[in-house]
Symmetry: C2
Subunit: 414 residues, 2 copies
C-alpha cells in the first residue's frame, strides 16, 4: 500500500484527468499533505497525471496506491477503473454518468478485488449525501430522498423568479457567470440530475438503477408567467429529483420541475446550490445543503474520499494542533435600554459607547414615560469593550432597569 | 470479533443503559438485523443490557464484540468505556458530557488499543456532523462551525417568537410536549450546547477542548419584547454555538443567544430541530439539519455507528433488494391553460378533469380576450390519469396554446 522514503510512508495518488476538478485536486493535495499525514500517518503524493495529450495510464497505474478518476464519460474511464481495481488499487471517482450506466459492474469488481471505490464527488459536490446514505443511515429504512442536485438549473430558476427573465436570458446569464457550460443540454434537460438520482436511489433502496430507468424532464419549457402565478400562490419552483418507495415492492426515480410550499426544506435553496432531504420514519428527515459544483468544492469531496481510502476512519486522530482558546472575540450586539423619558438620554448613552469605540449601526427610540426604550444595534466590536460600555451604562441615573444585550450575527450567505 | 452460530457469524452488541435512547436502540437493532446482515455479512445481536437494577458489566463485556454506552454522565461510564477498550472492544457512545470532559483520554485509549470509538449520537441527534467533520471534510481547512445543537432551546425560542409567550410559559409548553426535561437547567442554561460545541471544536480544529473552556450563556433572560423588536428588524433569535479560528494561532468556542438575518442558513431552523453550518474557504459552506434529539432518532445515529464499527465502510454493498421501478406515480399539478374568453370554458375543462378523476384544489381565472388564462392546482392523482386529461384538454377548440403543467410537492415539514 505504501512506499518507504526515509522515515515517511508515502501514499501514491494517480490522477486521471486535468480539467476544472482535476486541476483543483492537483492544487489541493500538496496544500493539505501535512494535515493528511498527521491524520493518517501517510504522506499523500501525486504519482502522475494523465491528460488528453500527456501521460501513460499503465505507468501511472504501476506507481499508484489509489487512482483518482476525473476524466468523465464512459470510455475510457470504465476500462481504466476496472483495470485499476484488478491491479488492487483503490478508486475515487466523481463520474456520475459512468456510475449511472455501469455502477453494478464497478461496485461488484470493487468487492471482488477487496478495494475501495468511493464517489462522493459524483453526486452533489461537497454535500455529503453518499457518505450519509451509505454510512450514517445504514441503520435506517429510507422512505424517500428528494434533491436539488443540479446547480445550473437551480441558478437559472432562481434568476427567472428574481428578475422575471425568460429561460433563454437566464441561461445566458448562467453561462456568463460560469454556472452553465457552452453546451448546457445535459444540465437544463435534466439528464445530469437523472444520473445523480440513479446513484442516490441505488444507495437508498439497494436496487440496481440504470439512468435509462429514471424518468426525467428539464426546465427549458418553463415560462416566466408560470413563476409569476406561482409567486401569487406562495410557491417556489425547483428542479427536483425524487427517489421513493411505492408500496412494499416498488420504487420510483424521477426528475422534474416542481413547485414547493415555503415550509419545504428545499424551498429556501437558491442560486447554484445543491440540497438533499432524506426521509425515514425513524429519523423524520435530514436535509443537507451546500455548493453544488465548482472545481475546488468537488476536489474537496474527492480528497475526503482519498483520505478515507488511505485509512478507514475508525478512530479520532490525536489532537496535534495547539490553538490557543480565546474568549474576547469581536461581536455585533443588539442593545435594549429601558430609560427615563427625558432630554439628553441618547447623548449620555452615545457618549459612553463612543468612549469604548462602540459604533452604532441603528437606533430606535420607542414608547413614552415609563415605557420609554432605546433599542440599538452596534457594529462588531471586541466584546470586552462592549461589556465595559454596558457597565458604565448600567450606572447611569437614567436607566430604569439593567441594560439587556444580545449578540447579532452579521454574516450574509448564498 | 465474531462467533460462529451455524452458518451465520454473529456480532455481539452489549448495551449499557436502558433509558429513552437505550430502549429505542434495543427495539431498533432486531428490526434492522436482516438489513445489517446483508450489508456487513454479520448478524448483530444484543448480548446483554445493563440497567440501574439489572445486569453485570463484566458479564456483558465478556460476551460482546462492541459496547454501546447510553447511560450518560461521567461515572461509571468513563470507567466502563476504558475497561471495554482495554478488553479490545469497539465503543459507540452518545455521551456528550463524558467526551467534553475526558475526550482526549478516551480517544487516546482507542488508538492505543486499536479499537473504534464512535459518537455520532453525542452531538446533534441524527444530523451527521461528527462523520462529516471527521471524514467528508478531512481534506478541508475549517474556518468556522456554527450550530443550533440544542433542540429544547430552539423549540422554546420558536414558541416565544410565534406566540409572544414568556420564557417560563414556553418552557412549560416544551415540558408538556416532552421537548424539555423536568430539570431543564442543562439545556436552557447552555451547558448541554457547550458540551457539544467542545466536541465539534476538537474535531474541526484538532485542538483539545474541555467543556470548561467553552464560554456559554443560556436563554433564561430572553424577554418577549426582545423578540418583538427583533421581528421589526427582520431578525430571528437562536441559541447559537460557534467554534471558529481567531487569527493564525487561536480559536474561540462559545454558546449564546444570537439574532440572525433571514438569509442565514440557520435562520429557518425552527422547533426542536438541530442544524450545523460548516464554513471553509475551499467549500464555502455546508449546512445539515434534522431532528435534534428523541429516542428513535438518536438510536438511529447510534446504529449507524455500530454498523460502521462492524465493517469499515469501504465499498458499496451488493444490490440485494429487487424493488420494481415504476413510473406512474401520484402527483399534484399546477395547470396553466391559455383559453378563449367565452362562456362555458371552465365547464368544459372541469368536465374532462372529472372524467379522469382529477380533483381541483384551487382555480384562478385571469386576463381577458387573448390574455385569458385558467390557472389551477389539482389534488394528487395518478399521473397517467392527469396526462389523459391533458390530452383531452389539448384537443378542445377553446385552447389558444398547448396546456402547460408543472408538478406541485404537497408535503409539509417542520
Amino acid at each position: 500500500m505504501s512506499q518507504e522514503e526515509g522515515e515517511v510512508s508515502v501514499f501514491r495518488v494517480g490522477l486521471l484527468g486535468h480539467g476544472t476538478v482535476g486541476a483543483a485536486f492537483a492544487t489541493l493535495l500538496p496544500v493539505q499533505a501535512d494535515r493528511i499525514q498527521r491524520i493518517t500517518g501517510l504522506r499523500p503524493e501525486l504519482s502522475g497525471v494523465l491528460t488528453r495529450s500527456r501521460g501513460s495510464f499503465e505507468e501511472i497505474l504501476e506507481h499508484s496506491d489509489l487512482i483518482v478518476e476525473l476524466i468523465g464519460g464512459i470510455d475510457p474511464a470504465r476500462d481504466y477503473l476496472l483495470r485499476a481495481m484488478r491491479a488492487g488499487k483503490h478508486i475515487v471517482t466523481a463520474n456520475k454518468q459512468l456510475l449511472a450506466h455501469h455502477g453494478e459492474e464497478l461496485w461488484d469488481e470493487a468487492r471482488v478485488q477487496g478495494v475501495q471505490l468511493r464517489f462522493e464527488g459524483a453526486v452533489a459536490g461537497v454535500v455529503p449525501v453518499i457518505r450519509v446514505l451509505q454510512e450514517s443511515l445504514a441503520g435506517a429504512t429510507i422512505d424517500r430522498v428528494r434533491g436539488i442536485v443540479n446547480g445550473t438549473t437551480n441558478f437559472i430558476l432562481t434568476e427567472m423568479a428574481r428578475t422575471g427573465a425568460t429561460f433563454e436570458v437566464a441561461l445566458a446569464e448562467a453561462q456568463r457567470l460560469g454556472y452553465a457550460e457552452a453546451d448546457p443540454s445535459d444540465d437544463v434537460g435534466g439528464r445530469d440530475a437523472a444520473a445523480k438520482m440513479a446513484i442516490i436511489a441505488r444507495l437508498a433502496f439497494g436496487t440496481p438503477v440504470h439512468i435509462d430507468q429514471v424518468a426525467y424532464e428539464g426546465i427549458e419549457q418553463i415560462q416566466p408567467d408560470d413563476l409569476e402565478y406561482a409567486r401569487d400562490l406562495g410557491l417556489g419552483l425547483k428542479l427536483i429529483g425524487t427517489a421513493e418507495r411505492v408500496g412494499a415492492t416498488a420504487m420510483s426515480v424521477r426528475v422534474y420541475p416542481a413547485f414547493l410550499y415555503p415550509g419545504h426544506p428545499l424551498a429556501s435553496i437558491n442560486g447554484p446550490f445543491n440540497a438533499v432531504t432524506v426521509e425515514s420514519e425513524a429519523i423524520t428527515e435530514i436535509t443537507m445543503s451546500g455548493p453544488g459544483a465548482g472545481g475546488p468544492q468537488t476536489a474537496s469531496a474527492v480528497l475526503g474520499d482519498v483520505i478515507s481510502a488511505m485509512i478507514p476512519p475508525a478512530s479520532t486522530p490525536p489532537a496535534t494542533e495547539t490553538l490557543e482558546i480565546v474568549h474576547d472575540v469581536v461581536s455585533s450586539f443588539y442593545l435594549h435600554l429601558e430609560v427615563a423619558d427625558e432630554p439628553g438620554v441618547l447623548a449620555s448613552v452615545a457618549q459612553i459607547l463612543a468612549l469604548q469605540d462602540v459604533s452604532v449601526k441603528s437606533v430606535v427610540q420607542k414608547g413614552m414615560r415609563d415605557q420609554a426604550r432605546l433599542v440599538m444595534v452596534v457594529h462588531p466590536v471586541l466584546e470586552s469593550r462592549f461589556e465595559a460600555a454596558m457597565e458604565l451604562i448600567a450606572g447611569l441615573d437614567i436607566m430604569r432597569a439593567p441594560p439587556r444585550a444580545i449578540r447579532v450575527l452579521e454574516e450574509e450567505f448564498g
